[in-house]
Assembly symmetry: D2
């Protein structure tokens, strides 16, 4: 998350609308008038079989929608599952199956593809370790298929899967995109699935939401700086990103709270905005290196990464 995040935050600070979130659904919901249409943006909701799992689908259809949303054109699927952070095995299995189903819907038959899973983030910083943890539990097959041949693959109905935890720039001195481009050049996958921890705006989203998108990972917005984006354009292959929000930026949570409180106390929108601007200037520095995260984050990360890896393994074999 490290370096991307900084870029992202900078971009958002420059935008008029300061919605610090990686979730397209949160951006969509930030438009207060829920039923009003935004041109170029479609939102659909469905229930997933009465298990307390909700599926939303935000489709950004064109540049107008991309501009309004501050996110690139593409499909964003959100799985909301309040129990994702808990350790109820059968419920986890339901989430895992739903995630597998949504992945198949988005990508087609994964068993016919050659796939590289890229875990982003810092293994040594728990809320950022989603990517490496998912990679730890994957069933990779590329080396087996190379050794035993296409017959073996056909017989066992296997996707051709390789995986890598790319580390963070502070540890490698390299950008994720450099490492991935190199590996892609050598191994030529059809599809790259990127796993990363995300930042949310709302604390209620933490460890309860999975976002899947065919836009890859794009710090900032669809417009402007694309240098570090991991997408079809930059990697030269299809890219799908799976993310879970694990932190809220400390300054976001404070800003949010102030905004709500002031509105509740009857301040006008303009007064509130002026007040917030003031606050933002002061707090930026002291909050810059802080995040808000749940007390059980270590336990939750183990649980969630396992559930995601199971969904992937389910798509790839058998």
């Amino acid at each position: 998350m490290d370096q991307q995040e900084k870029g992202r935050m900078r971009m958002q600070a420059e935008q008029g609308r300061s919605v610090r979130t990686d979730l397209a659904l949160e951006v969509r919901e930030s438009f207060r008038e829920d039923d009003v249409e935004i041109n170029g943006v479609v939102l659909e909701r469905e229930k997933a079989g009465g298990k307390g799992i909700d599926i939303s689908r935000v489709v950004i259809q064109n540049e107008e929608g991309a501009k309004a949303m501050g996110k690139p054109v593409g499909t964003y699927i959100t799985i909301e599952a309040p129990g994702l952070k808990e350790s109820d095995e059968s419920y986890q299995e339901s989430i895992s199956k739903e995630l597998a189903k949504q992945l198949r819907k988005l990508c087609g038959n994964l068993k016919e593809k050659q796939i590289l899973i890229a875990g982003l983030g810092n293994r040594a910083a728990t809320p950022d370790a989603l990517g490496p943890f998912v990679v730890d539990n994957l069933f990779v097959t590329r080396h087996l298929i190379r050794e035993f041949g296409p017959e073996f693959r056909k017989k066992h109905k296997l996707a051709n899967v390789s995986a890598v935890a790319v580390g963070v720039m502070g540890q490698t001195g390299m950008e994720s995109i450099e490492i991935l481009r190199g590996i892609i050049g050598e191994t030529r996958p059809d599809l790259v699935i990127v796993i990363d921890a995300l930042a949310a705006r709302s604390t209620e989203r933490l460890n309860t939401t999975i976002q899947i998108t065919d836009t890859g990972i794009c710090p900032g917005s669809g417009i402007g700086n694309n240098r570090q984006a991991l997408n079809r354009e930059s990697l030269g292959t299809e890219v799908v990103a799976i993310g879970v929000p694990t932190v809220v930026d400390a300054s976001t949570i404070v800003g949010d709270y102030l905004e709500q409180s002031l509105s509740a106390q009857g301040f006008s929108r303009e007064e509130t905005q002026r007040f917030l601007e003031e606050v933002r200037r002061n707090r930026e520095e002291s909050f810059a290196n802080l995040f808000v995260t749940p007390k059980n984050i270590d336990e939750a990360m183990k649980q969630i990464s396992y559930t995601i890896s199971e969904a992937l393994n389910d798509c790839f074999a058998g």
Copy 2:
């Protein structure tokens, strides 16, 4: 921290003055009028040799002071070292030496004592793992002295040291005090040194401050509920506590920020208080399981626990 924290938070919520901090220095500083004396409370400050390390000493002398401060009678030494969280070896060594010096000042010659080090907190939750991490690096000697006799001890000038990481109630089903009482009954130390992660009020304190106190660990306040206190009274032996604030409660940080912002905007004290009360009611639930912690917490915990264990080893041998 787990269970103690809950008790502590409950107690503080009931107090008029809602200062959610384990640091006596922060409580003392919360009395805005810095120079005004509080009866029964003495504050002294010194610089530690130009290394950017500050030492403060809050002495609560009597019940009047205890009531004003919401903390038991005793001495609270605070080492403030902004570089504590960083990995400059020679600076860490300076902190370590200062900590050793202050410990000797408070406890006398530790090499003549039989000491039990008790690491509190949850090894699997990084910001709460200070206690177990310190215990991991200690040089224990009790078993060696039992095997090689008092001659050996004399020759090497060793304290008699044993150590235990007691775990948290959610993992053991037992309170820290039960485990410690049992071990103390069997091994009869003269002094128990308790290591624990603390909660601070100010984010600037995080991973930059060490508190040493001869009052032990006392959730809530000196008055009232002493059931879970780890002190001379409850453990039947001298108790010194060493703590480092590693988290700020999410609701504290928001409350603080609101308070400052409203004051800055010219609201009266009464208005601000009423406003805050309102906010507190709403936010309690959504913030209950969140904390604010620095982004480099995993790295910082390794560094700080090592520095503390080196200070202890320094007091115990050689």
Copy 3:
């Protein structure tokens, strides 16, 4: 295993019969004449439902048997499951159920008891970490029952469970027995279940065998040095031990191999013995700090500890 092991090894070196193993079944099998009766020792075997899980039961009935076996009077149940080290979930579940069944058979209805689980061994040395790893996954209830009362316990049909990882003497300065005696004195359980990694003689036993015994843990033998034994006599309460062999001593494996090789080459028993004695003298030093362990030990320990903790949780609740 640390200190106990040393005692154990010393004791065995002094015995005529040098069988370096913690498994009663291996001792029994070391008597070449399989069908010949040993007075005071009964061996029964059963299959556990066609899943490739074998159950053996060695009962040492009296002092004569104890002397012959070099192990104290009591029952030793061995679960042999070649797949224990692998990650086939449904097979692991079968093992877990079998272990729960055998535990209930040995101890009666565990839900009516107050139980302390003690994880022995060194968390930081993988093949010795079985105890701490099992403790990490337990569902403890003692604190809940204390908070919500006997009604709660009855309603949910819960055992009263507490758990502790006692650490090793090199890290705590205390013997396991001192820590356990202290905790038992404070919390008064009816039953202590001790979990520990064991040493086997045969590499085929590694990570494939679980031993359950009502004799506790007894370094050396039933006769002689009982100082460090963890049993009813030393702890004042019923003790059951669960162990899995995770290492073979390096000198055992070499000795074993030499013995087999020499026999195969037609050397007489006396010649072989003399040869081995010679070898033993030379090798002791260079092999003293080495062990033989499987290459996948880190993965295997996670798997096995989880399976054991699931068996325990199954006995304790629901």
Copy 4:
């Protein structure tokens, strides 16, 4: 080590001389006649300043030497330091400085180079985790130099350093060489330094020896299969390898012991060889997945990886 090791073992089994070791020094020493010259192989020894650190240098000068040694043409420096596995800080510093000195001698001024450090091996299997552990402690600079420019680099006298832990084929589905080739293609370093755990023949070498070589890593031998070699030829850039033996193959230790014992008992060389062959056939299977490693391997790996990373950091900055 995983896949390379297999290749290596296979190759060695096919060679007449079955010396299962990655250390050139051990191969050289296996020629019993110490003073007899081997054509094309030079051995020099020096003491490193009275600290109990010995330096040897084996130079394989030509194909004749390579054939005799079963290792490619190049320089092999061995640092023997019995205290490497212990935690004496000042001694570790001496080793670290010696390693830095030897690296500079072999590679020239590292501060002028662009260097990629590649940590091989499995982070989750302690004796194989040397590579990833070293990478965790490196001070990388490539991203800083890219951000702050050549002025910054000059001012601080920094090498341009990037680092990656490549994982093992069972976890990534890719060979180390594929990942490295990709990253090298993108980032164009002048020098690749590969860090890997090695296998030794003698248990006394474990965690006491560091080998540095400019031949890279070459499973098997210099002749024949070069598919997986990591060297100038395969990576297209200068390659230096740093390794520490952390395991002895279980079958090696048994075979070695048998050989010594039989010789000591007066068996002729032919008898011993026939005997060993017999044994080898039987034992291969049962020992295939076992290794011999020191009891304190977890502690030792932390210590050694830190010492190596400090040597590298020392070469790269300041």
